[in-house]
Structure formats: C-alpha cells, structure tokens
Amino acid sequence: MRDPPEKLRAAHENLRAAHGMNDHRPDPDQLLAHVQAEEARAKRGRLRIFFGASAGVGKTYGMLEAAHSARAATNADVVVGYVEPHGRVETERLLEGLERLPTLAVKYRGIVRYEFDLDAALARRPGILLVDELAHSNVVGGDPPPRHPKRWQDIEELLEAGMTVWTTVNVQHLESLNDLVAQITGIRQRETLPDRVFDEADEIELIDLPPDDLLARLHAGKVYVADEVATAVERFFRTPNLMALRELALRRVADRVEAAARALTATRGRGRLAGDRVLVAIGPDEQAEQLVRAGKRIADALDAGWTVVYVETPALLRLSETERDRRIDLLRLAESLGAETVTLDGPSAAATLIEYAQTRNATRVIVGSPKRSGWRSWLQSSTPVQLVQHARDFDVITIAVPDQATPRRSPSSSAGVNGTPTPIRWDRYAWAVFTTAVCTAIAFVLYPRFELSSLVMLYLLGVTIAGLRLGRGPSLLTSLLNVAAVDFFFVPPRYTFAVADVQYLVTFAVMLIIALVIANLMASIRQQTRVAGARERRTALLYAMSRELAATRGLSSLARVAVNHLAEVFQCKAAILLPDATGKLQYPGDPRLDVSFRRADLAVAQWVVDHGHRAGLGSDTLAAAPGLYLPLGDERQRLGVLAVLPENQRRVLLPEQRHLLETFAGQIGIAIERARLAEAAEAASLDAERESLRNTLLASISHDLRTPLAVMAGAGSTLADRGATLDEQTRVSLARSIETKAREMSDLVSNVLDLMRFESGQVVLRTDWEALDDLVGTALNSVEQRLAQHYVDLRLPADLPAVLVDAKLIVQVFANLFNNIGKYTPAGTHVAVTAAADGKFVRVMVDDNGPGLPPGDPARLFDKFQRGDEEGAIVGVGLGLAICQAIIKAHGGEIEAHRRTPGARFEFTLPASGSAT
C-alpha cells in the first residue's frame, strides 16, 4: 500500500455513510459518557494554547496581548506564572503592568536555573495564569526536585485544581508529529508533548506568520534561538522547512476542528463506527518507534481505540537484556500517545497476533514491512505474509519504513537499567560432548549385532535429549559431533574420517538435517515451556496472595500478608500506607521498612492518595524517586497507598511486571475494602448486640429484681406494722428473708456490673503466677454456705505448674461455677475439681453428678441471660457463665460445658508455666 491514510480515510467515509443511513439515534451510553465528560470538564480549569509552526512566530507576544485585552474587557485576574522574555523588547514591554509570580531557583550541577513555581501558582489561584512553553522539561535532577518531569504535567495539576491556564507550544513538540518533523528538518526534538494534552485543550489559537516574514524577523534579531539549536539554525530556518512546518501546524488545527465537528454530530445522533480497533504489532527492532507513531496517526484518522502489542516469541527471548529493555521505552511511548499496551507470549508472532486480534475484535492490524531476505524468507514466510494469509475479520496494513537512518532518540535515561547479555553456559556444552560420548559408547556395544541405520537412530535420540535439556547451542554441537562420531567410529573405513562408499554422504546429510531440525524444535519447546512456566508462576503467585488475603482478618494483618507477598514476588521493600480517621496517611508500624524510605516519602504517598494517580519511579510524577507509589482503591473510595521500593528497578519498570504489580495492587485494594466493610459490619452487629443486651437486661431486671424487692417490702412492712404482735421466730424469719433477698440482689447487681465492664473492655488483667489449689480454696471459702450440703472433692496433682492469671477473676470463675452447682443440683451431690497440665496450659475440670445440663446446645449456656431453668424460682440472672467465659477468654483460654452421665462437666484452660511450683 503506497498511501494508506488516503485509502483508509476513503474506506472510513464509506462505512460512516452506510452507518449513518441505518441509524440516527445516539447511543444512550455514549450520551451519558458525554454528559459525564462535560461535567468533569466544568470542574476543570480551561486550557488555551497559543500554537505556532516554529519559534519566532510570536506566540508569547500573542498570549500577552490577549491577556491585556482580557484584563481591559472583563477585568480578569491575570497573573504571569512564567514567561521567558529572551530579552525581547516588545515582550518586555507587554509584561509591564501584569502581576508576575516569583520564579523558583533550582540548583542543578552548580548552576542556578529559574523555573516555574507550581506551588506558588496553586497558592495564588489567579483567574487566568500564563505559563510559556508547554513542552518544557523540568530539571529532574535539580534541587529542589520538581514534582513532575514535564511542564504539561504541572499544568494538568493546575487545571485539575480548577485554574484557567494559557500557554504556548510549537508544532514540532507534538509527540505524534515528532518523526515527521525530524524527517523534514533533520533535527529531533527532545521535548515532546502528548497529543492528548493538545487534543483536550479547550481552545487552540493558531499564531500564523508566513515563512518570509519569519525569516525577516530572524534576520532582524527578533527571534530567540535556544543554545542547543543555535548550531542548526541555518539548517532549520530555511523556507522549505518553515513552509512544511506551517502546513503541519495548519493541518493539525484543521484536524482538531474536524474532530470537534464530528463529536458534535455524534451527540446529535450520528454515532461513530463502534468497535473500530487498531492493533499495532511491534518487535524490538528499529522500525518499532515509527510503527507506534504511524499507529497513532491511523487510529486518530479512524477515530478508533488502539492497542500496541508486543509478542514475546521464543526467538525474542534469546535477545540480550539491553535489546529487551528497549521494549520498556517503546511501550511507554505508546502509552504516552494514548495506546493500550499488551505483551503476549506465543510460539509464533503471527498466530498469537491473529488470536489476539480476534478476541479484541480488531479491525486493522498494523505491522512493519518484512525485512527478512535470502534463504530464510524462502524457507519461512514472514509475519505480515502469514497475517495476510490468515486474516479473516481484519485488514493488515504494512508500514514501509525508510531505510535511511533517521536520528534516533536516545533511550530514556530514567530507566537506569543496565542490561547484561545472558552468560554462555559452558557446562552445557560439556554435557553436549558427554551426550555424544555416551551415544558412542552404547553404539560400540551394539555395533557387532545391529546395522548402522539403527545406530544412527540412537544418535538422533541423543540429539533429542540434548535439545530438551541443554538448549539450542549445545544441542547443535551434539548434532555436529554425532555426525562426526558416526563417520569416525562406524563408517568403513573405521577410525578415519574418510568415507569409502558415497551413499554414506547421503546418510550424513540427512542425519545432520534431521538432527538440526530436532535440536531446533526441542529447544523451542524448552523455551516455550519456560515462558509458559513463568506465566503460570505469575498466576500462581497472584492466587497464593489472594487466597491468603481471603483468609486474613483485620487491616494490619492484611497489610502484613500483602507486603510479605510483594517483597517475595518483586524483590522489593513494600509498605501499605493507610489513612487515619482524618484522611492523613500513617506510617505502618513495620520496622523492616527502610528508614530513609519512611522519612522521605509520606508526602508523595499523600499526593498519590489525594489525586488518585500513581507517582514515583517509572511514572509521570516524581520519576526520580527511588520508590513507586500506587493508589489503592478506586475513584469513589481511596483506601490507601502501596509503596514499593524495588531492589532492582527493572522489576517495576518492565511493563508486564508493572501490570502484575497493578494487579497485585488491585487485589490488595479489594481485600482492604473487604476488611473495611467487615469492620463496619462488625461494629454494626456489636451495636445491635449491645442494644439487644440492654433490652434483655431490662426484661430480666424487671423479673429478677422485682421478686426480691417484693419480698423485702412485704417483710419490712409486716415487721414494722405488726412486729409487736408477731412471735420471736416469725420476726426472725421475716428479717432473714429480707437479708437473703438483699444478698441475691447484690450478687445480681455485681454480676451485671462485672459483665458490663468486660463488654466495654474496661477490665485490665493484673496477672501473676498463682497456685491453682490456692485459687480453688479461696473460691470454696467464699461459697461455703452455698455448697454446705455438697461433697467437694479436690484432686489437683501436686506437680501442677503455676498459672499466670488474674487471681481475683479466676477465683470468681470457680465461685460462679460452684454457685451454679449449688443452685442447680440437689443436696448431697458430689463435686470434683481436677486439673492436668496440657502444653502451655493447665486444663481444669469441674464435674458434678447432679441432674446434668438442660437440653440444647451446651455452648448456649455461656450466652448472656441463659439459664438452665427459664423463669424458675432460682434467682440470679443467667450471667454467671457468661462472666466465666469472658474471664477465661480474656486469659486466652477456652471454656466448655459437657454432659456426663450422670451430671455435667465444665472444663476450661488457663495459661501456665512449664514448671511445677
């Protein structure tokens, strides 16, 4: 195809016309998206770009003039953020009378540069802010370091903060035109601006000046030329160059106008052709960069989404690390041009591409023109040819790339990756020689009984094994050695390389070819297995983390689990920073976090959580930072920040590693959100439980308190009114019943109070080493009355270890259990207390042979207000066992109730020392 854009545009027009005839109604989703975009735009500040074909056309002048007239017309609050006057008198004059922000002094290699001060602008918040040179690069290595490497990113932040910004830019700075401009002028522009920023600008003002006028201005010394361009000034400012640049600028603005008109039509009822998708297939070669830019232009012309695909085939895996690193730069370039990027694994580039194109419903696939020549192109068809042969649902566009070397941009230095070629594994070559030796040894044994053809098979088996185990180089060596060995040892005349019969030459040739093919195939399979293994490992790692996260409760343990997994997978230090109640991020209490890591970067992390964009290493913001900061959660809910400080920066710079990291971050975000929801649900259920406790308490008190109160009131009034007429015995019994009931109420009240204290977490254990028999004895003394009619048998072993408990509380546990036995078992019941050491615990059993537990789940007995006998005559709200449970749990033990025949067993554990007291 000689001129793809022309043909494409024609095809597209046809399709659009056909589409337009069928359906004029706008797609509701599209309309909604449009409305949302409009809303977002309303909050955002407006960007106005003064656009020119080259330096010297008067963009800055035009901007300042417009500023003056805006001030005169609407009294707008205009502030100059940064303008490079370059000593031009006209510009200087226009700057007078405008408020100017102070510039920021940045030290860089001993020189002080004056840069635009982003924070000063954010603090000043003017109505209109003027910032010259949109494509300017900030001094990344300077002091203080800039927040963003590029000025356009500063301006994005200003726009997001709602400020209106006016700026200037030249056509040669636009990323997608970078190639063309370089071809026209022979000068590669290093400062580029993503097309997206230009396209999303609210207003573009074209400052146009005919080339002859510009040259006249140049000669009059009215054009400032930057130092680095000064040498090339003669080459640059030539009429043909300027005309071409002017045309580019005009066309770019015209395209923009057309796109705007198209967008307007779309909202009025003409949708664009849905599902248009352009795939750009690239490899690590010279033409990839041009392919990406061409892809951008074609996708723009089609108004389609586009994806840049890099297929990692076994052949590509053999490339040196440096070459593979280029891929990082390429995919980043693609992303900066607005493409989606994907890295695929597959045995053949064509097959993988076709499969992917079909799953993504791609309509066009762009590939570079084949460069393969000679015998290889005859043996195996190139990827574009294969694509064309198998393409069903998409067009294949081949981009011819001129052979003459265009000045290539140096790979981004920020990557800082030092590639090292894979070392040659000499030991494998030794194994290759050994394989031939083994084959020969076996063949020697077989030689007298078998024909030569069978021995050749044996050697082929050797090659197969070598291919599978040793890789390509060694297996090729085995193939060659095998042929030599067969010739030397077995082909007559033996022990010479001479060949008696010519037919053996055919044998050798066939044997060599088969051996080479097998070696190649086996090595490919091996490589493929390795690729598949790596992919599987990634999936397994992700799965392992997800599974562990799912089994983890509580935010801090979640963070710990996630950090451990990340550290293992990416060989990095990682931290999860979570905001406190006020939204400020907090350091995790993880001592493994590097100290400098902790000190330097909470501010960056805070920026990330506030803006929802990632920052740090390899990102657009603060790329020079040693760590990478990813936001967790989504727009609605920013949950925190994942900070990663890799030991090897490649670990997070490689696109697939970065995608994997992002997948991990996504999983962690989900887990954190789940934990947050669980916490909220728990709090809610805790509230509900408290509420129900309060209700039960009220109901219970009305019964358990009123009954004894009635007795007391009755007995008291009887004594007061009729005391004189009653006999001594009756008086005493009435008085006694008042005393007993009062005591019961007192027990009840202290039980309720104790439980409330436990529930509200006010109880602090005052633990000490205690002897269990001492505690049981004390408890028995306190319930002496209650158990007066029972037989209590203490069977505590003499060598029982001391227990580490709060003595008062454990005495209460025993007292409550004994009280229950007193209440619910008849006189004469036998009670036995036994205990045994059980690891780090002492297990205590309190048994009785009374009537046993009530029907139902014994565990329910430990719920509040459960008692064996509902509404029975025995007073004492069912709190005793609930208190026991609270106390035992506070000690880290367990308490259970079991049925015995006859009777019941209450069994609990207490923390203990290993040694006896």
């Binding site: 005591r743 028999d773 001492d774 505690l775 004390t778 203490l794 003595a807 008062k808 007291t917």
Partner: protein, 226 residues
Amino acid sequence: MHQILAVEDEPDIRRILRALLEGDQYRFIEAETAERGEIEARSHKPDLLLVDLGLPDGNGIDLIRRIRTWSPVPIIVLSARTMEEQKIAALDAGADDYVTKPFSTPELLARVRAALRRHVRGAEQTPLLRMGAVQIDLARRESRGPQGELHLTPLEYRVLESLARHTGLIVRQAQLIREVWGPERLGDTGSLRVCMKNLRAKVEPDPRRPRYLVTEAGLGYRLRAD
C-alpha cells in the same frame, strides 16, 4: 469501752452501724463528711475508724492519708466500690482492712474486733497463736499439732509473725515479702506462694481448703487465728 468513729454519709447505714456496734458495747460516734470526720477523730481520739470512700466533700482515701500523718489508729474501709484497684489504693493509703457493702454483720463485727486487738497490743508480737488443734508459740519458736510437735522453718515462723502482727486483717503480699525476705526480693511472689503452701500443709486441717491462712485474691493474705 472502745470508741468507734464512723465517717459515712448515708444515714441508714449510720443507723444500722449504731444499732450494731452499740449492741456490742462500743461507743459510737458518727460524722457525715470527711471534714467533720477529721475533726471528730482529733477531738475524740477514737480507737477505730470506719470510713466510707465516697463522701460528699471528698475522697475517703484522702481522709485516711491525712489521719495517717498523725495517728496509727486502726481504719477499716466500708465501701460499695468493689474494684480491686480501689481496695489496693485504700490499703496503700494506710487502711488496715476493707469491707465491701453490702456487708454481713457478723463479718463486720469480727473485723472490728480483729482491728481493735491489733491496736491494743500495738506492735507487740502475739506470743501464742491458736489455729484449731495447732498451737504456735512465736516467742519460743515451738509448735504443736494434733499429732505432736510440728517443725516449722525459720522462714515460716517469720511469715507467721508478720501475719500475726495483723491477725484478722489483710496483709499485702508486698508487705509480707518486705518484712520476711527484704525489700530487694519484692515481686518474688513465687517464694511466698511456696512458703504459704508448705505452711498450710503443716497447720491447716485441710490444706486445700484453708481456714486459717486465707488468700485474699489479688490483695494478699489474712490470718484468722482463734
């Protein structure tokens, strides 16, 4: 006849105390506030104080502290506060015993008698202890049980001496350790526990349910000699 001063803001409790103590032949003086309490204590020089902790004009613990600056008179705290921290704070301020409301009247009277006994004897040692069938002569270091002579170690005698100085009253663990082992062993509750276990094995009729050497969980020990 012993004089007992009750500092208590609840009139009903004062009435009950008066009935109870006057019935047992004590002279009963009462005060409603901490301030009045201190004045009554200075003017009447009572033999025993019953002090409530929650008083309208201040904390009973402060009152105890002020009285302790000039008098060793036995003080029993009478309070509805059951939390251990408060008991400890009161004992540390100088109270001799702690009775929680609601109290059983025989118990209160027993405590009052014990406290008065200590006061009468002052710091003098009780030469003879009687615990059921066991008799211990602390001065001579001789003990007899139902089966004849008992052998107590010097350490056990010193523990008994220390407890006997406050017979019927709580003795804090820390105080026992300080008096018997010395202040440098404070916190070594293990030795005290072992010693107490051995003592019980020798003097208690049923060591697993001690009646004379009683543990006050979390606070200390109490000697209940006959």
